[in-house]
């Protein structure tokens, strides 16, 4: 099933690898920031109501 | 507006006014290049006009954050904003002052220093012409960038980062026109584009500068 990538197999794989790493980085970063911000807001709101 | 321009020129030529800043930096860069690239005439003469343009651009970039920062710190900018001069005219006056103290001297110094870079004979006129057409755009775009970052502490580096991409069209067309002129090719298209960008910047950027000054003086 794995297609024989011929002479430029390395190029194709490295391009995919780099792209996927960058995509995961931006998704991960955005997700982490979202969680951190949500938690900070919840504590602030809890303090305000509490 | 003229009063502001004359005041800025007088301030720049006074002690510590920063008049020679751009020129000295330009000299340093032009002198350093042969040490870095090597003295072979063939290489130097080929890249001479490009080096002169890049050095002129960096020299202009260097003296941008002085344009508004000094007036902002001692409150003069606020008083000028409440004076009967429109902020657009203030932007134009500041850009003209920067051009007269930095752009014009560079345009005159560039051919002189071209000798150090083995600039070919017909290159002198083209380097001077392209710089004459291009440096006003550098000053006007730079003034917009300076107004953008006037309220920011240590905004100098940020100013360079913001202005660098805005300078690229002027650099490409300016250096290309100079290179073609030096090589004797027909340089009218890049020259026209260069002049077009400069005209567009001078016509439109004062309004952006004024808007940004108003925001920063809020």
């Amino acid at each position: 099933m794995i297609p024989d990538l011929g002479k430029y197999g390395f190029e194709v794989v490295s391009a995919y690898a780099v792209s996927i790493v960058l995509l995961l980085a931006i998704i991960g970063l955005s997700w982490r920031q979202s969680v951190k911000q949500r938690r900070a807001l919840e504590t602030a709101e809890a303090r305000r109501h509490g | 507006m003229i009063a502001l321009l004359l005041r800025d020129l007088r301030l720049a030529t006074r002690a510590g006014g920063g008049f020679g800043l751009g020129l000295v930096f330009f000299l340093i860069v032009v002198v350093l290049v042969p040490f870095g690239v090597g003295p072979e005439t063939a290489i130097l003469s080929k890249i001479a006009s490009g080096i002169l343009w890049v050095a002129a651009l960096l020299a202009a970039l260097l003296s941008l954050d002085r344009i508004f920062a000094l007036d902002f710190e001692d409150g003069a900018l606020t008083l000028i904003a409440t004076a009967p001069i429109p902020l657009e005219a203030v932007g134009l006056a500041k850009a003209t002052a920067h051009w007269l103290t930095t752009g014009l001297p560079l345009t005159i110094a560039a051919p002189v220093l071209g000798v150090l870079l083995q600039l070919p004979a017909n290159g002198y006129s083209f380097v001077a012409l392209t710089l004459l057409l291009g440096t006003p755009a550098l000053s006007m775009i730079g003034t917009f960038g300076a107004a953008l970052t006037v309220g920011i502490r240590r905004g100098g580096l940020l100013l360079s980062l913001l202005v660098l991409p805005l300078y690229i069209p002027t650099l490409i067309f300016g250096a290309e026109a100079a290179r073609r002129g030096t090589a004797g090719l027909d340089a009218t298209t890049p020259l026209l584009m260069l002049a077009g960008i400069t005209a567009g910047s001078i016509a439109l950027l004062p309004f952006a500068t004024a808007a940004v000054l108003r925001i920063n003086l809020r």
Binding site: Y16, S30, S34 | -
Partner: protein
């Protein structure tokens, strides 16, 4: 209730909450299908061999890099004209996603060009204009970070985005003028029939859909984070004042 009502922060948080997982899900599916289809099921190109498979990353990311800046431009205009906080925050949120897309386009372009050009970077005009776009993104994000007051920051970055767009366009043509260029012809063009052949075409469309959905999902997520940050700041300011 006009469309602008939906841009009010509280309502925005409301309707984007449920939409978010669906957006990420759809993006994931499209990307998986598109990339799998493109990577495994398409034949090699007779000229470029297997490197043509990089098209499924390079073209969508390049498209998104440009469209992200245009979205930021529209959001900046909306902020300046209608003072809508969500559009300013959406522009701020889109910048990191845009810069990532630009990076992907740059890297995949360089890797794809390497076999033909012999080097990774041959100052090809289109790749160079993405390098310039990268600088614009960097400056835009740096300006946001350098200013404390959110409204002033939104105003200044909006003006920078508008002025920057004009110069980005100028750079695009200046770069073409400056170097004739070795870039492959347009893979996707509506007028010219010189389109990439069908077998490559459909997976490419799926990949593009995947990238667009991913962009939308990420911007929604990041905008929600920015709104929460602004809300936290407003609460803290109020606490300080009472």
């Amino acid at each position: 209730m006009s469309l602008w009502e939906y841009a009010n922060p509280k309502k925005f948080m409301g309707w984007t909450g449920p939409v978010l997982p669906w957006a990420f899900g759809a993006a994931g599916v499209c990307l998986a299908v598109g990339l799998f289809w493109g990577f495994f099921l398409t034949p090699d190109d007779y000229r470029q061999g297997s490197t043509v498979k990089i098209i499924y990353l390079h073209v969508p990311s390049a498209l998104m890099a440009i469209n992200a800046w245009m979205m930021m431009l529209v959001a900046s205009l909306i902020w300046l004209v209608r003072r809508h906080h969500v559009s300013a925050l959406a522009a701020k949120a889109a910048a990191p996603v845009g810069i990532t897309m630009t990076l992907i386009a740059l890297m995949t372009g360089a890797i794809w060009g390497q076999p033909m050009w012999g080097t990774y970077w041959a100052w090809d005009p289109r790749l160079t204009s993405f390098l310039i776009l990268f600088l614009f993104y960097l400056g835009y994000m740096a300006l946001w970070a350098a200013i404390d007051d959110p409204d002033t920051a939104a105003d200044l970055t909006s003006v920078l985005c508008i002025v920057g767009s004009v110069f980005a366009l100028l750079s695009r043509y200046a770069v073409n003028f400056w170097n004739q260029g070795l870039h492959q012809g347009a893979s996707l063009s509506l007028d010219k029939e010189e389109n990439v052949s069908d077998v490559f075409f459909f997976p490419l469309l799926v990949c593009i859909a995947g990238f667009v959905l991913l962009f939308v999902a990420l911007v929604l997520l990041r905008t929600r984070t920015e709104i929460r940050a602004r809300r936290l700041r407003a609460l803290q300011l109020r606490e300080v004042r009472t």
